[in-house]
């Protein structure tokens, strides 16, 4: 296990005041919050920042971390010395409130690093901690997770196996993350941002209460050819200049297979040709748009240069900037 420098994660000095830490955390949280930021590593960074803040904003955890960490540097191999936390009271307290996983693995409410867990133990999630009073039936908690599917799955419907990490409480009251595999039916016509409700797939109930539900948020894997906007799907369709000018019938690959598309004469770049109802299917299906782009063949041979010259001569006085 590698030592984590929580001060570095928040970009503050070791002597920073609690106010400095709060300020630094807020600033980074606004920047890397996965709901706000579109940076590729936002989720990962936010997790680090959150974990650092969890330790440094709590004077007791911070003191313990400082005491133990003074001889370590980020990335250095690390094992917590036995009894390092003697005299501190946080171990096993595990309120864990406020954390919720952003991991695409879903399931777990808080997904701390191994390093964090080695120091502060497993945090008890809300699922394990709250809710049930002794001797009373209570329903299990609902869980949330996000899954990535292919656009093609939304066109056809699909069965997918997902892996969730679920907090489980053992006999001693420790919380561990268990992996759970679940086969899920992805209905045809589902769109990004929508949720599936899987009844009874959340946390088991307490004292005979019913289990909670699992809510799966759908997102699409990025596709090299298609862009999705709600129900509508866009693709770029490159044309040769003569196809755009004279019109053509071209084969276009769509998520449902190849279709023939007629390009009208005098089509300009940027023109959108609509294939009605060929977007994401459903009671009111989306449309598929082919956005025309014009590709120029290179003038890298004498014949090609001659052809461009003849082209120019055929349009005397043509000025595309006017």
């Amino acid at each position: 296990m590698k030592f984590k420098d929580y001060y570095e994660a928040l970009g503050v000095e070791r002597g920073a005041t609690q106010d400095d830490i709060k300020k630094a955390y807020r600033k980074l949280a606004r920047k890397y919050h996965p709901d706000v930021s579109k940076l590729a590593d936002a989720e990962e960074r936010f997790k680090e920042i959150n974990e650092a803040n969890e330790v440094l904003s709590d004077p007791e955890k911070r003191a313990a971390y400082d005491q133990m960490g003074q001889n370590y540097r980020a990335g250095q191999d690390f094992q917590p010395p036995p009894g390092w936390d003697a005299g501190f009271e946080f171990r096993g307290r595990g309120d864990g409130g406020g954390f919720e996983g952003y991991s695409t693995g879903g399931g777990a409410d808080f997904d701390p690093s191994d390093f964090f867990e080695a120091l502060f133990g497993r945090m008890r999630s809300g699922a394990a901690g709250g809710g049930a009073r002794a001797g009373r039936a209570a329903s299990g908690e609902d869980h949330h997770a996000k899954i990535l599917i292919d656009l093609e799955d939304a066109y056809r419907g699909a069965d997918r196996t997902i892996t969730l990490r679920v907090p489980t409480v053992d006999a001693q009251g420790h919380v561990t993350l268990a992996e759970r595999r679940l086969d899920v039916h992805i209905p045809r016509g589902i769109r990004a941002g929508q949720h599936l409700r899987l009844a009874g797939q959340g946390t088991p109930g307490f004292g005979g209460g019913p289990p909670g539900d699992l809510f799966l948020e759908i997102a699409f894997n990025p596709h090299t050819r298609y862009r999705v906007d709600g129900r509508d799907v866009y693709l770029d369709l490159p044309l040769a200049p003569w196809e755009a000018a004279l019109g053509a019938t071209v084969d276009v690959a769509t998520p449902e297979g190849s279709v023939q598309l007629t390009v009208p004469p005098n089509s300009a770049a940027g023109r959108k040709l609509r294939l009605k109802g060929k977007g994401i299917p459903g009671p009111s299906p989306g449309d598929l748009y082919a956005v025309l782009t014009i590709a120029l063949p290179p003038a890298d041979a004498q014949r090609a240069r001659d052809a461009y010259a003849a082209f120019a001569q055929a349009f005397p006085g043509y000025d595309p900037r006017r």
């Binding site: 919050h33 929508q194 409700r197 899987l198 797939q201 539900d213 862009r227 709600g230 866009y234 956005v291």
Partner: protein
């Protein structure tokens, strides 16, 4: 809790097939009722129905409520701040969608 391997679990699409009561929404999103009432007051959520007992939230409120709850918690936003952030995020989504509609856009 375990699904048989031959029978994948299936369920309704929340946004299309489900309306939630105040109690259901709070349970699913793990937020207190007072919080949701405040957000309704700020226009963050727009349920059908007059009195809170009659409120019915469209499925899309699920995502919005969870988003509001995360922003409140992680960025310490107050309700007007959440309302503003959600409006700005909606606007950014709309602009991104517009970009996706033009050739080579949004990538």
């Amino acid at each position: 809790m375990t699904a048989s391997p031959s029978q994948p679990v299936a369920g309704p699409v929340v946004e299309e097939e489900i309306h939630l009561t105040l109690v259901e929404l709070c349970r699913v999103c793990r937020v207190p009722e007072t919080q949701v009432r405040t957000w309704v007051g700020e226009g963050v959520l727009e349920p059908a129905g007059r009195a809170p007992e009659e409120w019915r939230f469209a499925g899309a409120s699920l995502r919005r409520t969870r988003l509001a709850s995360r922003l409140t918690r992680d960025l310490d936003l107050n309700p007007p701040g959440v309302a503003l952030a959600l409006e700005l995020l909606d606007e950014i989504d709309e602009l991104r969608a517009r970009l996706r509609r033009v050739a080579g856009g949004g990538r």
